[in-house]
């Protein structure tokens, strides 16, 4: 944006603003917008801006409705960006309870706080996985695709994200609080600085020398999204909600942002294993593809099943299972025309540059950890 006048967003509250996505949202707010920024997070020590940036930090558990409302009353946000969510790892009762508590109950508390304190716009970080049943391909899916709920949804995390998204969208112009406008952003495969999931796992695969196997034909396209682009999508949505709130008339259906969900990607689906190899190359792999052996999907499923049996027998969670085979062979990419048209969204950082930055950060973290261990 630079020389142009930065758009104003008034008072912005970022929930989960010290998290992976949240702290990029904060960074972009400071860089690209004129606004005052506040952050609510469980812990506000990591990913904290220097004091000179003037960000107000509040430590709170979002399921604590009273505390949340008190903070809202103090900050008086015009717009709230709700990015808080636990890491999508774990498939046991404890993690399920956490998903439900933070994603569903926490979001409900955020909505109530917004409604009670006259917030104009709420942007919720949903997930592109809400339309996935974790088995079927998603080929150029857009917002017309139905969300997968209940027993069709095999990932409980996605179920809770979808439930929360439903709450958020239902709160748009709700009869008892018609002033609040809401929308949901559904990012796919977020990666970037601060990511401890996607790249961390991929680089581990390379470090353990397991980059010599490719499951499936590698014709399956997948959407990975650089985190700054996701943050950018959120802020475009926030701005659109504020503009809608200020407008005298209701928006036309095909221009509407409030009450809508938007897929956000890098707008460049890539072949699944190509992405992995790009990460490995950025992490220093000198290898091409000559050493790669292709494991057919069917055989992979058999091995995955055997692994599950083995780990079941020794009573540990499997490190390798059929779901991982399925994911690496699944086509899962999205058509983001809606975000482009209605939000004016366009990725700020191309995918290859995003991978370079993200890998550099991951390697730096790794080095810092090793150094601190060595001391």
């Amino acid at each position: 944006m630079g020389s142009e006048a930065k758009p104003a967003l008034g008072s912005v509250l970022v929930i989960g603003g010290c998290g992976f996505l949240g702290h990029h949202v904060v960074r972009l707010l400071l860089r690209d917008y004129t606004c005052s920024v506040s952050v609510v997070d469980l812990r506000c020590t990591r990913n904290r801006r220097p004091d000179s940036d003037g960000v107000a930090y509040f430590e709170a558990d979002i399921t604590d409705a009273d505390r949340l409302e008190a903070i809202f009353s103090q900050v008086k946000p015009d717009v709230v960006i709700h990015t808080a969510s636990p890491p999508a790892q774990g498939n046991d009762k404890v993690s399920h309870a956490l998903f439900k508590r933070v994603n569903v109950d926490g979001t409900a508390a955020v909505i109530r706080a917004c409604q009670a304190t006259g917030v104009k716009g709420l942007v919720y970080t949903s997930s592109a996985s809400v339309v996935s049943d974790n088995v079927s391909d998603l080929i150029n899916a857009d917002e017309r695709w139905p969300t997968v709920r209940g027993k069709d949804q095999t990932e409980y995390y996605s179920e809770t994200k979808a439930a929360a998204e439903e709450l958020v969208l239902a709160a748009n112009r709700a009869p008892d609080a018609p002033k609040l406008l809401t929308c949901a952003i559904r990012p796919s495969g977020i990666m970037g600085e601060g990511d401890t999931m996607v790249l961390y796992h991929l680089i581990n695969v390379y470090r353990q020398g397991r980059d010599n196997v490719q499951v499936g034909s590698n014709d399956n396209l997948f959407d990975f999204t650089y985190v700054e682009n996701v943050a950018h999508g959120h802020l475009l949505a926030a701005r659109a909600l504020l503009l809608t709130a200020a407008a005298a008339t209701l928006p036309l259906d095909h221009e509407r942002v409030d009450g809508e969900a938007f897929f956000i990607t890098n707008d460049s689906p890539v072949y699944f294993w190509d992405f992995a190899r790009a990460v490995w190359a950025a992490a220093g792999s000198p290898r091409g593809t000559d050493h790669v052996r292709v494991l057919p999907r069917g055989l992979g499923m058999v091995l995955g099943f055997l692994s599950e049996c083995f780990f079941w027998a020794i009573g540990k969670p499997p490190t390798f299972n059929r779901q991982r085979i399925i994911y690496s062979c699944m086509t899962r990419y999205y058509d983001i025309s809606k975000a482009k048209k209605r939000l004016g969204y366009k990725p700020l950082v191309p995918l290859d540059e995003g991978v370079r930055r993200a890998v550099r950060w991951t390697l730096e973290q790794e080095k810092a950890n090793n150094d601190s261990k060595a001391q």
Binding site: I139, L221, R287
Partner: protein, 469 residues
């Protein structure tokens, strides 16, 4: 290549032979010119068309009668211009007014030109250019105006390049220069063709509002040729690869061809391929706007050849050693596939996008960008012909299919007998289908691979060359 050698090649590449036979036997032109009704000058024009064009001659002569003569003449006029421009024995002082005034010369009854050097391969056309002029007078006014307008632009563009000492000494510098050059040699032709297609109501008039689509059609063909011909051009002392790209990899242009620099040269070439691939979506979009089958064939064949050529040159070190071409069998198969409909043509593009992605090398700095561009092509095709329907997906979830139960024994008997019958039927039908020319390339490729290193015979149906226009 000797007959025996060819026989051995085809023995190990039966699908190549099959594709050739399939094209020769089954290709039914949408329109055929009728020489019995043609005037002597018309006949003469087609004679020169066949003489001067290797690859456009056939498709032009299958065009809709409405555009048959206009496009044939359009081609000959541009070929005439090109023959003057190419001839280094003509002094620039004489050449410039000829190029800039060609649109006036082509209106002078009986004008001919025999100033070309004796070795200029197409000099005959200009020696007998009066036949072209005679026929041009009969072209419908709107079509003629388009041909004339492009001739003016092309002549001036050629004159500018001929006078441009910097360009002639050092070649193309920036990517913008590169694309401007491609505009003059291919984009302008495309502009003329699109205007002819729309004027004759054989293409959607909206194409005129989106001239960038037309431009991409020309850019894609031209860039592909420039990448493919890099070695030949280098030998001729010409350079069309923009310095802006190759200087990222080399300080000196000649280093690109040094055998010890192959890997780096390949990376440079994949940068060029990536630059060309960005036009594919617009090319497909353009072809979706064509209404007439013969026009579709006319524009689709060169495009299909271009994507196949791009796949052939991608990460292929041979381009720095010699001129390479797609095999004649592949060319015939591509012609068969690009004379059907947009859907079949999209399958061709997807197939080659995937092949390019399979050849991609993670060590290449353009690796992920190329993967993303191939993905973009697939996504674009998906947006025209979607595989999934959200309504059906939603309906499927609401009413999950319930299967009635069945005894185990019954099931086993049923399955075994079904499998037996299907195998028998299947084998018979596949055999029959293959004989009749169905597509089973994947099954045959496995066998073909046994043939290993036997070289294909030289290709006849090439991608339209820049040497032609």
């Amino acid at each position: 290549m000797g007959l025996a050698q060819q026989a051995i090649y085809f023995l190990f590449h039966p699908n190549q032979l099959r594709a050739i036979i399939q094209w020769k036997v089954w290709h039914e032109p949408v329109h055929k010119r009728d020489p019995s009704k043609e005037t002597p000058t018309e006949k003469a024009c087609f004679h020169y068309l066949n003489l001067t064009s290797r690859s456009f001659a056939a498709v032009i002569q299958e065009l809709n009668p409405e555009l048959l003569m206009p496009i044939c003449l359009f081609y000959l006029v541009l070929r005439g211009l090109d023959t003057i421009e190419d001839d280094m024995t003509i002094d620039i002082k004489e050449k410039e007014p000829l190029l800039r005034g060609f649109h006036e010369l082509m209106e002078k009854d009986g004008w001919t030109f025999n100033g070309n050097g004796p070795n200029e391969k197409d000099r005959d056309l200009l020696v007998h250019f009066d036949v072209v002029i005679t026929e041009l007078k009969k072209v419908k006014k709107p079509y003629y105006e388009i041909i004339k307008d492009i001739t003016v632009k092309m002549g001036n563009g050629m004159a500018d390049y001929a006078l441009n000492a910097e360009h002639n000494a050092n070649g193309v510098n920036t990517i913008a220069d590169y694309e401007l050059y491609c505009h003059y040699v291919a984009g302008l032709v495309g502009e003329g063709l699109t205007r002819l297609f729309v004027a004759s109501d054989l293409a959607n008039p909206k194409l005129l509002d989106r001239m960038e689509l037309t431009e991409s059609m020309g850019q894609f063909l031209q860039k592909t040729n420039i990448i493919r011909d890099v070695h030949e051009d280098w030998l001729d002392g010409r350079r069309f690869w923009p310095k802006e790209i190759w200087s990222l990899y080399f300080d000196k242009w000649d280093d690109l061809f040094a055998p010890e620099n192959r890997e780096r040269a390949l990376q440079c070439s994949s940068h060029m391929v990536l630059n060309a691939l960005k036009h594919v979506e617009e090319c497909i979009f353009y072809m979706a706007g064509v209404r007439d089958q013969s026009v579709f064939n006319f524009v689709a064949i060169p495009q299909a050849m271009a994507i196949a050529t791009l796949e052939l040159v991608f990460r292929n070190p041979a381009i720095f050693e010699r001129n390479i071409k797609i095999t004649k069998g592949d060319a015939c198969q591509l012609m068969t596939e690009s004379t059907q409909n947009l859907r079949v043509l999209c399958d061709v593009f997807r197939r080659y996008a995937r092949r390019i992605h399979k050849k991609n090398d993670p060590r290449d700095p353009n690796y992920l960008a190329i993967s993303a561009q191939c993905g973009k092509i697939e996504q674009f095709i998906e947006s025209i012909f979607p595989t999934q329907d959200p309504q059906k997906i939603a309906a499927g979830r609401r009413h999950p299919g319930e299967q009635p139960g069945m005894d185990t024994m019954d099931a086993v008997v049923l399955v075994v007998s079904c499998v037996a019958v299907m195998l028998l039927l299947g084998a018979t039908m596949i055999g029959l289908a293959w004989l009749m020319g169905a597509n089973m390339d994947k099954m045959v490729t496995g066998l073909g691979a046994l043939g290993g290193n036997i070289k294909p015979p030289g290709s006849i149906a090439d991608v339209p060359g820049r040497d032609e226009l």
